[in-house]
Symmetry: C2
Subunit: 322 residues, 2 copies
């Protein structure tokens, strides 16, 4: 049955396009040694009886433990457990060091913090070429809403859930002579950004501050004692350039004082800024709730990647000053 015409690197790459979750499968040897391996070959088989399967390389060190024991646990990892996935994928001394196990139905180690867990008893073991296929009856299971970790083409990933119907912001197509569409990333970023800023606007109105003054206070809250040039360097990313008039508004309002050509926040200015931060965090929480934690994480990841790849070389606002 061996097929020697195969380019095994290409075969792995082709198999890797099939996306999977990531699981850790654990068992305890007869001498009490705990074993655990990272596997993405898990899948469901049957609902009644409840059966799941996974495959283990015949060359795996832990093979004798899994063939001898009757009990093993499957842990579907959450996005927070990427480092655990790495730990159980490599040969380590004690992969379980520092982990407080939960109490399980059997002697198989039960890891905490997972998206789902299946406590199983071996039903069948089948031959599968260079692997053995373990089929287990699920004795007990539990799951929660933690976004699961995903693996695709050799990389970890997050998912962005697709809606049942495509999201359309407009019901009409633009006229043919105009080829702007709602699908342009530039439009989507602009609109998402401005809708976010508008949510802060009520507070800024109360504080009698314009958006550019909000940017100035934010920068001074992170890094104090800046010249006008410093400030402009740090808010360059916003597209705004502020001038002495903008600073004068803040001085008159009691938010900022100038000493030796450098601006710093007054107590009132800091308080105004802290209010803005509190508001920004409240908006953030609302949005994460509206999107769901998995989608919010994926959105942030993708925005960071976009920013990194389009960064014209902006100064690091948070870097420790020299």
């Amino acid at each position: 049955m061996t097929n020697n015409n195969f380019d095994s690197k290409a075969f792995r790459a082709a198999l890797g396009t099939f996306t999977t979750g990531v699981t850790i499968i654990t068992a305890t040897a007869q001498d009490g040694t705990r074993v655990g391996i990272t596997a993405n070959s898990f899948n469901s088989v049957s609902l009644d009886p409840p059966l799941v399967l996974w495959s283990l390389a015949k060359s795996a060190n832990s093979l004798p433990v899994f063939t001898e024991t009757k009990h093993w646990n499957v842990h579907v990892l959450s996005v927070e457990q990427e480092s655990l996935s790495g730990r159980f994928a490599s040969r380590g001394e004690d992969k379980f060091a520092g982990i407080e196990l939960d109490d399980g139905l059997t002697d198989a180690p039960l890891l905490p913090g997972c998206t789902a867990r299946f406590q199983c008893r071996t039903a069948f073991i089948h031959d599968g070429g260079d692997h053995l296929i373990f089929i287990g009856e699920v004795l007990r299971f539990d799951h929660n809403d933690l976004p699961p970790l995903v693996f695709q083409s050799g990389q970890y990933a997050l998912t962005a859930r697709k809606p049942r119907e495509e999201i359309r912001l407009t019901r009409a197509e633009p006229p043919p002579e105009c080829s702007y569409t709602e699908d342009l990333l530039g439009y989507l970023l602009g609109r998402a950004h401005f809708q976010m800023v508008n949510r802060l606007k009520g507070l800024l109105d109360e504080q009698h501050l314009a958006q550019e003054q909000f940017f100035i206070l934010s920068v001074l809250c992170i890094r104090d004692r800046l010249t006008l040039d410093d400030i402009n360097e740090y808010i360059a990313y916003t597209g705004y350039t502020v001038d002495l008039n903008d600073m004068e508004v803040l001085i008159t309002g009691g938010h900022v004082v100038i000493e030796d050509g450098r601006y710093r926040l007054t107590a009132d200015g800091r308080e105004a800024s802290l209010h803005q931060i509190a508001q920004a965090k409240a908006i953030e929480e609302e949005l994460v709730e509206a999107l769901g934690p998995g989608d919010a994480m994926a959105l942030k990841l993708l925005l960071k990647r976009l920013i990194e790849r389009t960064d014209p070389g902006l100064p690091d606002l948070w870097a420790v000053s020299n």
Copy 2:
């Protein structure tokens, strides 16, 4: 072995947290009838010999075909094939209608446009409770770079690939008294948006136009003959409010004329706008290339979801005017 204490809905939900790709598996019956079913129970088993597996419900109409034939093809679907997934998941008259099949090694139907394909010969069939487990030797395979379709918790999804190391835009933490961080969605959206706008700035400088004038031309390019109030309504999402002076700059520059209190583009104005569109599309292409097609698609999807869920009720720029 039956376990009647199971809440089968909860069991399905727990199994569903394990993310999978989506496949269509096809075969041809002895009488020439083609069958195909959507399955996410696919997985790799062995590299040498090359084996894959999938499970089929014993109640499936196509079961006799798959147990009788020796040949079947596994198609890992791309994100573009969501409707195909739906078609092969339901009982239809002729699921293959309108599909031009590729030539395969065997008589099993070979679908085009997939992320990966595995042409297989049955190696073993094992019992798996209410399913049969098909293990196939891979005779031939192919794959490409189309982002694959993903299934998680009963929904289709896209993936956002996680980098090997977390992306950090800054190397420092902000001072403790300031709790702005680079992780705030508001900051990430703002910075991503402004970095995008800055890429258009060179062209706007050449055209002697400020950003607000760019917004006005964009709106007039989509919807012509607008009053100042109309224009402000449509660009409200940008946070800008334009006045007669802004319009005067465009009239003096020859981009816009006013007739009966309504503004419209001149031929020069339309040409300037078309240049801007061309530039915006070039930037878009660059960014999609930088992110990769899967990440770009996921980012757009998430931004649309965010916009939809934070929409304060903005007017539809593209809607047909009354």
